[in-house]
């Protein structure tokens, strides 16, 4: 795969974008509570799960960025 962007870079971009979107949604829900919240909504899973994805995505995006 010489000279090509690696799959890990694509994966990183996707995770980063998803992570930002999901974390943003979780933060938004803090001030705009859901009418029908899921079970264990008090744990704010979108915020920390999205953040984990964003950090992992950022790491892969930077590490495998095209040079």
């Amino acid at each position: 795969m010489k000279g090509h962007v690696q799959i890990w870079f694509f994966s990183g971009i996707l995770l980063l974008v998803y992570g930002v979107l999901i974390t943003g949604t979780g933060v938004w829900e803090l001030s705009h509570p859901l009418a029908n919240p899921p079970v264990l909504n008090n744990l704010h899973a979108p915020i920390w799960w999205g953040a984990i994805m964003a950090v992992g995505g950022l790491f892969y995006t930077v590490k495998f960025r095209p040079r």
Binding site: M1, V5, L15, Y18, L34, V39, A45
Partner: protein, 576 residues
């Protein structure tokens, strides 16, 4: 290797129309749309690196062990499989885990350690291609035609199943799901070939884990940990058998699957599992794309490590549902009649239970990605086998390389179109699903006997290979027809009238594989073998396996296979 949910999914179509399980918001739609955009972009991006047949069909044989390994396990990690086995876990308990552990891990390790060197150093493009080198054109032709035919039908069935699930879970129109997914798959596979399919399988693998992993994490928090979960299930179901792997398999009647440990070990663990993981070209093709022999050996071992963890996102949600859902799920036929939720809806139900906007879109994207990559895997394997083992072998042997690439691209489109046709055909005759999955399993188990004898026994001959494969396939079909028309024959086929469908499948696979081996041995002993010089690179004892020079002991495939094997044994003991 899961075909069980097809019938159930077919029944979904007959279910009364009710409100969809999931309502997607704008953010969820955005998550799905981003996935589609990424997939198509990757196809266009990789178009320039699929110009030769080696690049288009074998991804240039440039994949690292990690990419080949994740792709190897991902090609089998379809959404239908995930939903079906989560439903089986709800229905049968932890016994469903056998299909991920004994039904996969030993076979994957065997592929990496014993069989991969012969596949790899023979430089074959496909499993039928190996049969050609070892046994000649007759065995290759039989294998290739069966595989190509069944693969494209399976792709259509997957497509139809996806459309049904999208209809039930999201309320999407069947035609919309079928055409959008098939056009997307056709674009990215035709443009980028196997490399594009593999790249998307890696994305799918990540999405499935990220989309599904929250369910067991939050579920265990809600249930109060594993020990509490076991007690809650026992109290609710009135039995401890739902959380034990082996202790209830001493007799067919002692467990809800109607299964015996001999069937699990010999039928599932050897005949079915080895047949699928070591000879089904759909998965083996991923490993053949590795960039050197060491990577090719490591890929199935890495895949086995991840496969061993899949029950955490598939089986555990099913078990959690037994404890935390406020209502009982029912068999599909009851769900159709009463409008209740069925076992097969357990994964979407658990997704909705714990995931709000955004995370819900991620979970649904994981399901869509699983379906699409399964379809892409079938179509790319079909294009390879058609082009190399049917068209190139029997119709046009002397075409240019660019002609074969062009044929591969056209095959991709034709394969997708035939799949769409199959999807619509199945819509009007759902029972076809059962016969197609049956036919597929008929062929896989005997193929194991043929390939294994070819690799491990120098004396196996061209005639022995063909007639063994033919006899094994006929045995499987014969046993199926016998039990179909005379259910009492089950006592002979599966050794017990109490055996159920899955047990019957296991014993039928065992019989057909055994018949293949016996016939191959007898015919081979009666016919003239090839000289050793013609078996170089194909058979144990007649081949020089290239030495691998690992710098450290911990880089050796055998060491990692040992680590995975120990993990496998420990897990089986823990959940005994």
């Amino acid at each position: 290797m899961c075909f069980a949910p097809f019938t159930a999914v077919a029944l979904l179509f007959q279910a009364p129309i009710r409100e969809s399980l999931v309502h997607l918001g704008g953010i969820d739609i955005a998550v799905i749309a981003i996935y589609f955009a990424m997939v198509i972009y990757i196809g266009f991006y990789l178009k320039g690196s699929a110009n030769t047949s080696e690049e288009f069909f074998m991804a240039g044989r440039e994949m690292t062990a990690w990419i080949a390994g994740l792709s190897f396990v991902s090609a089998n990690l379809g959404s239908l499989e995930l939903m079906g086995w989560a439903g089986s876990a709800y229905q049968y308990g932890i016994l469903a885990t056998h299909w991920y552990w004994i039904g996969a891990i030993p076979a994957m390790l065997f592929l990496g350690i014993v069989m991969m060197p012969f596949y790899y150093i023979s430089k074959t493009h496909s499993v039928p291609g190996y049969l050609h080198l070892r046994y000649g054109d007759a065995a290759r032709g039989l294998s290739a035609v069966c595989f190509a035919f069944m693969t494209v039908l399976m792709s259509g069935i997957n497509m139809y199943s996806m459309a049904l699930v999208m209809k039930v879970v999201l309320g999407w129109d069947l035609n919309f799901s079928i055409w959008v997914s098939s056009i997307t798959v056709a674009i990215y596979v035709a443009l980028g070939g196997l490399r594009s399919a593999i790249f998307n399988e890696i994305l799918q693998f990540l999405l499935i884990w990220l989309g599904a992993l929250l369910i067991p994490i939050l579920g265990l928090i809600e249930a109060g940990g594993w020990e509490n979960l076991k007690h809650q299930i026992a109290a609710r179901m009135g039995s401890m058998q739902y959380t034990h792997l082996w202790s209830t398999t001493a007799h067919f009647r002692d467990n809800p699957m109607g299964i015996h440990w001999t069937g699990l070990v010999f039928g599932l663990g050897i005949a079915i599992s080895c047949g699928y993981w070591t000879t089904d070209f759909l998965v083996v093709q991923r490993v053949l794309s590795a960039h050197n022999l060491r990577s090719a050996r490591m890929a199935p071992i890495i895949g086995a490590g991840f496969k061993m963890m899949v029950p955490f996102i598939v089986i555990l949600p099913g078990l959690l549902a037994l404890s935390v859902l406020p209502f009982h799920l029912v068999p599909q036929d009851v769900a159709v009649a009463t409008g209740q939720h069925s076992y097969n809806e357990v994964l979407p139900l658990m997704l909705v239970r714990y995931c709000g906007p955004g995370l819900l879109g991620l979970g649904v994207t994981a399901l869509i990605a699983g379906f699409m990559s399964g379809m892409a895997g079938n179509v790319s394997a079909f294009a390879t086998v058609w082009t190399y083992d049917i068209y190139g072998a029997f119709m046009n042997r002397k075409a240019s390389d660019s002609h074969y690439v062009s044929m591969g691209r056209w095959c991709t489109f034709i394969g997708v179109l035939v799949s769409v046709g199959t999807a619509y055909l199945v819509q009007h005759a759902a029972s076809i699903m059962d016969y197609v999955q049956g036919l597929f399993s008929f062929f896989i188990a005997p193929l194991l006997g043929t390939v294994l004898l070819g690799m491990l026994w120098k004396r196996a001959t061209k005639a022995g290979g063909f007639w063994g494969l033919f006899a094994g396939t006929c045995t499987a079909i014969g046993l199926f027809v016998w039990v179909h028309f005379n259910p009492a024959a089950l006592r002979y086929v599966a050794f017990s009238p109490d055996a159920k469908t899955m047990a019957e499948d296991m014993y039928r696979a065992l019989w057909s594989c055994s018949a293949c081996v016996v016939v191959t041995v007898i015919v081979s002993l009666l016919t003239q073998p090839k000289p050793d010089s013609e078996l170089e690179g194909l058979v144990y004892g007649a081949s020089r396996i290239p030495e691998e020079h690992d710098e450290h002991w911990y880089q050796k495939p055998l060491v990692w296979a040992g680590v995975v094997a120990v993990g496998f044994v420990v897990l089986n003991i823990i959940f005994w």
